[in-house]
């Protein structure tokens, strides 16, 4: 019998997240069954696999930020870093802190659970997939790129692993203030909470609605520009 090529072992780690990123993964209805059957092994993950002991993994998708007052979470994250080849900040909570940037403790039953940080503040992160949640499409594209070893496609996500202090105000600071905004409206389209609108051709951020997910700036054509990939995707 021919030896089968080992399938990548994928783990799903749930820290201070809402399971929305995991849900978004499952919304790839068309490809999910062949993906799970033929292409990867999901070896670990609450809600997915009945296993208590964390195994060795090729890729760990980490959802949620980390609560500094929760020893168990800290321990789990460190264990993931030891046991996974590739640690992915899966979704904006893990990547940028997102909603949990607003946490400030004072609630029952753990009033001291106050401080939440993106996982890259504590361990080395290899890839970040921001989004609240990331779209099913970007998750599928990322998994396919990992399977194919397509590092060119993944490069922007490796670069984004360092983008942890995200905010809607990045549009002003890093685009408008830098004379780069062209008023296209991509940021306003991308915003998942409708916190961004366009006024006189410039983004206007309602900071009361902004959840600091980072998607507006990440999606802006003037933040980074994957020219070769786009030409390839279009057949140009």
């Amino acid at each position: 019998m021919a030896e089968e090529k080992a399938k990548p072992r994928i783990g799903y780690i749930h820290l201070s997240g809402c399971t929305g990123d995991g849900m978004s993964l499952t919304e790839n209805y068309d490809i999910l069954a062949p993906l799970l059957t033929d292409m990867v092994d999901i070896v670990y993950g609450q809600t997915l696999v009945d296993l208590w002991e964390m195994p060795e993994m090729d890729i760990a998708l980490v959802e949620g930020s980390v609560c500094l007052q929760d020893e168990h979470s800290l321990h789990e994250l460190k264990e993931v870093r030891e046991k996974a080849g590739l640690v992915v900040a899966f979704g904006s909570c893990a990547a940028t802190g997102c909603f949990t940037r607003y946490s400030r403790g004072g609630q029952q039953a753990q009033p001291n659970h106050e401080s939440f940080v993106p996982i890259a503040d504590l361990v080395k992160v290899d890839l970040a997939i921001p989004g609240c949640p990331p779209s099913p499409e970007i998750i599928a594209k990322t998994v396919v790129a990992v399977l194919n070893g397509d590092m060119d496609y993944l490069q922007p996500m490796m670069d984004l692993a360092g983008y942890t202090e995200a905010c809607g105000c990045d549009l002003q600071l890093k685009v408008v203030n830098q004379a780069l905004c062209i008023g296209c409206g991509t940021c306003a389209m991308a915003c998942q909470t409708r916190a961004v609108s366009m006024t006189n051709g410039r983004p206007e951020v309602n900071s009361d609605r902004c959840i600091k997910c980072g998607v507006c700036y990440v999606q802006c054509p003037r933040s980074w520009w994957p020219a070769e990939r786009i030409n390839k995707d279009l057949g140009l």
Partner: protein
């Protein structure tokens, strides 16, 4: 390639008399969208529609030929069309979406399609992107300066604006005025100064005025999707075409203007890099082709 990758370039115009009357040039965008709507190739298109304020466009989802035609004609200021794409898919429930885009907008859309981080169910719904050539864009207040202050015309009387032959043209019902383009310098949008795309290189089909006589447009057919729809429209008699070689001033002028735009932008990019300012594009020293849109 200074004009981007394309399968075919032709001179073309819409054969519809009403579209010819309303259109800025050959009515290619209006003509193709109306045809695609009629044939069910798209079920709506995001266009730069009219607003309550004269010459200040608002992105809108057009779902009928009348709505498409209401958006005909160039407005030389911002219409953040990309903003409407998600709404068109989510609120209007459109499955096959058309959109008109200037080069920078096409860049926002194509990046979103290749890397759809937070954009569920939008990337695959874009069925037809028509790109329009763009040398630069202006803030609304810049337009008011050209028209009210420099040309001394009442804003409400303006029926058409056009940039061509080195001038900014303003037409009213009974007169045509112009100001030299030199006088518009310093009023452009700042973000345009690093733009390396003149002829909407990433659109399915891109079109513009330069290269062809008045009433006609230069049309680049770029992607497979664009080729399919454009060929169908020509076969249906909705669009008429002429070989580019037979028209004046032809591709040469287009190549010159595109080269000028890119060379100028590349210089600004290099200056910005020297100052330590961010630029999303590669510096010219790092490029194989200094004029590529990368």
């Amino acid at each position: 390639m200074v004009l981007g990758t394309y399968k075919e370039v032709v001179a073309a115009r819409s054969t519809d008399k009403q579209i010819q009357k309303l259109a800025q040039d050959g009515g290619i965008v209006s003509g193709l969208f109306c045809y695609a709507l009629d044939e069910g190739l798209i079920d709506g298109a995001v266009v730069a529609g009219p607003s309550d304020v004269m010459w200040k466009p608002e992105p809108m989802v057009a779902m009928s030929s009348d709505e498409i035609l209401a958006a005909a004609g160039t407005k030389y200021t911002f219409s953040p069309n990309v903003w409407m794409l998600k709404k068109a898919v989510r609120q209007y429930g459109l499955e096959k979406l058309g959109t008109v885009a200037i080069p920078c907008q096409s860049m926002g859309i194509r990046k979103m399609q290749s890397y759809p981080f937070g954009v569920k169910n939008v990337a695959s719904k874009i069925a037809l992107m028509l790109g329009i050539f763009c040398m630069e864009n202006f803030p609304y207040e810049s337009l008011r300066t050209f028209i009210s202050e420099k040309a001394g015309v009442d804003f409400d009387l303006v029926e058409k604006m056009d940039i061509g032959k080195g001038k900014f043209w303003i037409e009213t019902a009974d007169q045509t005025l112009s100001i030299p383009l030199k006088e518009t310098h310093g009023y452009e949008q700042n973000g345009c100064k690093v733009c390396l795309d003149y002829v909407a290189e990433l659109a399915d089909v891109s079109t513009g005025s330069v290269g062809t006589p008045d009433g006609w447009s230069t049309v680049f057919v770029r992607t497979d999707a664009g080729e399919t729809i454009f060929k169908q429209a020509v076969e249906a008699g909705v669009i008429e075409t002429k070989p580019m070689d037979n028209v004046k001033p032809g591709l040469g002028l287009l190549e010159k203007l595109a080269t000028d735009k890119k060379t100028k932008a590349m210089k600004v990019i290099d200056e910005r890099k020297a100052m330590g300012l961010p630029v999303p594009f590669k510096g010219s020293a790092e490029k194989e082709d200094p004029l590529a849109n990368v």
